[in-house]
């Protein structure tokens, strides 16, 4: 039985962000994302809510065999257990996959324990391991932190890379997502949905009354996560900087340290909605807040594409259709799955993790990743077919091809962007 674990933990520390920005590189496609939210998407600390609700079976124990049921637990000791620290943007898909795995012959021998952790937190747990929840597989949102992790491991343990095997599970870019009725009205005023028009809309003197003659909609409410705590919030800043500079490559510190950009950023961030009084720490929480409270809370968000897809149905049944708009310049997450060769990991556990990885990369499971809004990591699984969400939900604005994918900014660029944000006191 696969078990979703939860644990509160510290938000990603600045020192780790600093280390992290040193190693942002180019991956499978050009990307520049950190791991998932430092504060923990859904399961990490600091969020005031959770991501999509888990329906996974089992307990949250670190090996206890009993389940969330009154039935007999499976016999302990007969199954090989291993723990996966994962970025929770893929929680729904992973929990589903784990339940499916349980039905297979391998699943009767092997028990993956799902443990939602931010990328930085997951890496810290491994480097400081084993701790009370030993990690055998690390699956952050992005591979950007891999080099820092390996370096830290070498410093601490004097050994080579602990990554025995890896594969990219799924990919997802960033999107603007908003309520159809409101985005239609928005587009009648601003032909393009981009950071510049969002800035204008946020500062429209009488809000929606000025934008679309709809005073009852209040002010235009745009949200992103806290860049100090969450990967998607930081990416929003990076995309703003690229957009402002009008380029996709070679973003320099001098581009973002101009008085004009700094003033523009300060004005933009003053307009960002903080309904709870502060920015949300977690992308999953932010998206769920939008669905639960409808257009009253947010008109438009910047989130991961897969989250927007995953919530399309719930949005429709509760409020209105959601519409996705891709920023003109974009970046990728690729969700690597690292099987670790660490002292607390047995050969049996490593082999079991390998079997689970093979299962995750298998076509049926990858097709389900697609249903959860991810672009499959297995290149054999097509994206363009009638039932693909990218085709089926094309009317929601989903597109397979991204117009422009940006280069990963240099470490000092990211560092200065984050510092610029933090100086704003948000």
């Amino acid at each position: 039985m696969a078990i979703p674990e939860r644990k509160g933990g510290g938000a990603g520390k600045l020192v780790f962000f600093t280390l992290l920005v040193l190693v942002v590189g180019i991956g499978y496609l050009v990307y520049s994302q950190f791991g998932p939210d430092g504060g923990g998407d859904g399961n990490g600390n600091g969020g005031n809510g959770s991501g999509p609700q888990a329906t996974g079976p089992g307990t949250a124990g670190s090996g206890g065999p009993a389940g969330h049921s009154t039935g007999s637990p499976p016999p302990a000791g007969e199954r090989v257990e291993f723990r996966i620290a994962y970025g929770t943007e893929k929680r729904l898909w992973l929990e589903w996959a784990a339940r499916e795995f349980e039905k297979t012959a391998a699943g009767r021998r092997i028990r993956p324990i799902l443990y939602g952790r931010g990328s930085v937190e997951g890496a810290q747990d491994v480097v400081n391991g084993p701790g009370d929840k030993p990690i055998h597989v690390w699956s952050p949102a992005s591979s950007a932190y891999r080099d820092v992790f390996e370096t830290e491991w070498k410093i601490r343990h004097g050994a080579g890379s602990p990554i025995l095997r890896s594969d990219n599970l799924a990919l997802t870019p960033m999107v603007f997502v908003g309520w159809k009725q409101r985005l239609d009205a928005y587009r009648a005023k601003y032909p393009q949905v981009d950071f510049r028009s969002v800035a204008e809309a946020m500062h429209a003197e009488s809000g929606w009354d000025t934008i679309a003659g709809k005073p009852e909609w209040g002010h235009f409410k745009f949200g992103h996560t806290d860049p100090s705590k969450s990967n998607s919030g930081l990416l929003a800043l990076v995309l703003m900087a690229y957009d402002y500079a009008g380029k996709e490559r070679g973003l320099e510190v001098r581009d973002i340290m101009t008085a004009e950009f700094q003033q523009w950023l300060a004005r933009f961030e003053r307009g960002v909605a903080r309904p709870g009084g502060s920015l949300t720490h977690s992308t999953g929480t932010l998206m769920k807040e939008m669905i639960l409270r409808g257009p009253s809370q947010y008109d438009v968000l910047m989130v991961y594409e897969n989250l927007a897809i995953d919530y399309l149905k719930a949005a429709r049944t509760r409020w209105d259709e959601l519409v996705v708009v891709y920023p003109e310049r974009n970046m990728w997450n690729e969700h690597p799955f690292y099987i670790l060769d660490v002292p607390w990991s047995s050969e049996k556990q490593r082999a079991a993790a390998g079997e689970f990885l093979d299962f995750l990369m298998s076509e049926p499971i990858q097709r389900q990743a697609l249903q959860h809004g991810f672009r499959p990591g297995n290149p054999m699984v097509p994206v363009k077919f009638d039932e693909s969400p990218f085709v089926r939900y094309a009317k929601h604005g989903l597109k397979i091809d991204l117009p422009r994918v940006c280069e990963a900014p240099k470490a000092e660029v990211l560092q200065n962007l984050l510092a610029s944000f933090q100086r704003l006191g948000r």
């Binding site: 990490g44 959770s50 009993a66 309904p275």
Partner: protein, 567 residues
């Protein structure tokens, strides 16, 4: 949440009587216990107990699903059976109980995320760590203005967006509803709970201040300090009938006493839905509908989280997570919807009773308001203290011989606590009675007369008989001859026995107080000890849509404190 002092202040004021539906029904004092889940029949050695204090707005739902959970004998990994002891109380009270370690809670669910922020801020100050870590929302309900449907329609509901500015217009008219062609409804009578004690009362103030400034976010101290903000607040507050510690109490009074008592009150959406339950409310004169203020509103989001304290072990966490997961499952969430809550499980489509047939609009609210910073919250509370509807109270205390000893000593203490809690602009008259009533103070403003009032109460001794009805009638006559329509007029009566010496009969007294109902004089009664005639006292309170309390030497101070929340 930058100012620790302010956090502490706000946490304290929110905690006194709890927030939301903290009252233990229409009688008695606020407190826990009502609606708690049943004891387990499983031997202690075989079970793991979870203590779960929660905001009592969701009492009926949580009681039902928690008892089903306990009956399922769900186990954790070590084989122990989970037993959840779910305890409803005011949200502020839950926070205070856990922070002060009076309740060794394992999980916690106040009515609103604002309490998680406040609790965590205070916990960080005290212990350098939060009270709870990650939280999940259990259910949601927007804060609304609940109004009788014909009145809401007269205001434009159903044809145009309605909000605080429309309420303000109505309060400005001396003739009340006559301004809208409905003279038969009299004055516009409005209610919200006391913002110092109740979540919905505090939220009402935020909404009023936002409406005054025309903003929906980023409220500043300068906004609050503008003279026009205070004027807006004052004009709306003057339509208030009285305050109170419990949103549930307001709901029950609105539904139970009809439009003669209240035209509208700030409630949670789920309470509007509850008013359509014919078993609970068989005789409503009109349906009640929810107005989602066009200026924006707030959500009550009922977060739940595992408490971060040393007594919470890994086994407790494991059990708590299983229980939370259970609460968020479809079946339990659908049960919550039956009680009028919007499910936090997004897999569930909104359905009846979350529909227009139950007075609400599932497509509302259209916009929400941003939670102000703690310094701004504090400034709003100060502004309210200045511009609130002030009180004009007559304290009628039984000093008959049966009060001798501890009863009199405790009653004096309680009355002094009430006097302490009155605002500087509130007025107090004091009428002790035994075989006859004697005025000790008349119309003393607390700004100058508080010490005198305290001294007068402190000098009482017990002797003589009980002329209860004469005393209440004398208090009533005083308020009638000296009307203060810009104030909350109330009589607070404490007695430990039956009337034996009055010339006035009970029937005469009831006729008199009922006749003065439009003047809005409320008579709060306290039956002190076992000798009081509860039925009579309850009848007198009911005749003025006020409240009867059972008092003892142990709880009398708390009773007086709770009565102070009405002012």
């Amino acid at each position: 949440m930058r100012s620790t002092a302010l956090v502490t202040l706000l946490a304290c004021v929110l905690a006194i009587a709890g927030c939301g539906d903290g009252g233990g029904g229409d009688h008695g004092t606020a407190g826990a216990g009502h609606g708690a889940t049943r004891q387990s029949d499983v031997p202690a050695a075989k079970r793991i107990d979870l203590v779960f204090p929660y905001g009592s707005e969701k009492k009926h739902w949580l009681k039902e699903v928690t008892e089903a959970f306990n009956a399922s004998h769900t186990k954790i990994g070590n084989g122990k059976i989970i037993h959840v002891q779910a305890i409803p109380m005011g949200s502020g009270e839950t926070m205070r109980q856990i922070l002060d370690e009076h309740t060794k809670a394992h999980l916690w669910s106040p009515a609103s995320g604002a309490f998680v922020k406040l609790g965590n801020a205070e916990s960080e100050t005290r212990l350098g760590k939060p009270l709870v870590g990650k939280t999940s929302e259990l259910v949601l309900s927007p804060v609304v203005i609940a109004m009788w449907k014909p009145m809401a329609k007269a205001l434009g509901w159903g044809t145009k967006p309605v909000g605080w500015s429309d309420i303000l217009e109505l309060t400005r008219h001396q003739d009340g509803w006559a301004a809208l062609g409905q003279p038969q409804w009299g004055r516009f009578k409005f209610g919200h709970t006391h913002p110092k004690y109740s979540n919905s009362g505090l939220i009402s103030l935020f909404a009023e201040v936002y409406a005054a400034t025309g903003k929906t976010s980023k409220l500043t101290l300068e906004d609050v300090e503008k003279p026009e903000t205070g004027k807006f607040l004052e004009e709306i507050e003057h339509a208030v009938v009285h305050y109170g510690s419990s949103t549930g109490f307001f709901g029950r009074k609105l539904f139970g006493n009809g439009p003669r008592y209240l035209s509208a009150a700030v409630l949670y959406e789920n309470m509007v839905i509850e008013s359509y339950d014919r078993r609970k409310h068989p005789d409503l004169p009109f349906p009640v509908v929810a107005i989602y203020p066009k200026e924006g509103t707030f959500w009550s989001d009922h977060p739940v989280g595992v408490v971060d304290r040393p007594w919470v072990t890994d086994a407790h966490r494991e059990a708590a997570e299983i229980y939370i997961e259970y609460l968020l499952e479809k079946e339990q969430q659908q049960a919550a919807m039956r009680y009028g809550f919007r499910p936090a499980n997004i897999e569930i489509e909104l359905a009846a009773p979350l529909d227009t047939a139950h007075g609400i609009d599932p497509n509302e609210p259209k916009t929400t308001l941003e939670v102000p910073s703690v310094p701004v919250m504090d400034a709003i509370l100060k502004l309210w203290r200045k511009h609130k509807k002030h009180a004009n109270i007559v304290l009628v205390l039984d000093t008959s011989g049966s009060m001798k000893g501890q009863p009199m000593a405790r009653a004096r203490e309680g009355a002094r606590a009430l006097i302490d809690l009155l605002g500087p602009e509130d007025r107090l008259s004091f009428l002790p009675f035994s075989s006859r009533a004697r005025w000790v103070l008349k119309d003393q403003e607390m700004r100058v007369g508080r010490n005198r009032a305290q001294t007068a109460v402190g000098s009482l001794y017990a002797e003589g008989g009980t002329a209860l009805y004469d005393a209440i009638l004398a208090a009533q006559e005083h308020l009638r001859q000296n009307p203060t329509p810009d104030r909350i007029s109330a009589i607070v009566v404490l007695t430990d026995g039956e009337d034996r010496n009055s010339r006035t009969s009970l029937r005469q007294l009831l006729d008199r107080v009922r006749a003065d109902e439009e003047a809005g004089v409320k008579v709060f009664t306290i039956g002190y000890g076992k000798g009081a005639n509860e039925k009579v006292l309850e009848g007198i309170a009911d005749a003025t849509q006020a409240k009867f309390y059972r008092g003892t030497t142990q709880n009398i101070r708390e009773v007086f404190k709770e009565i102070s929340t009405f002012f």
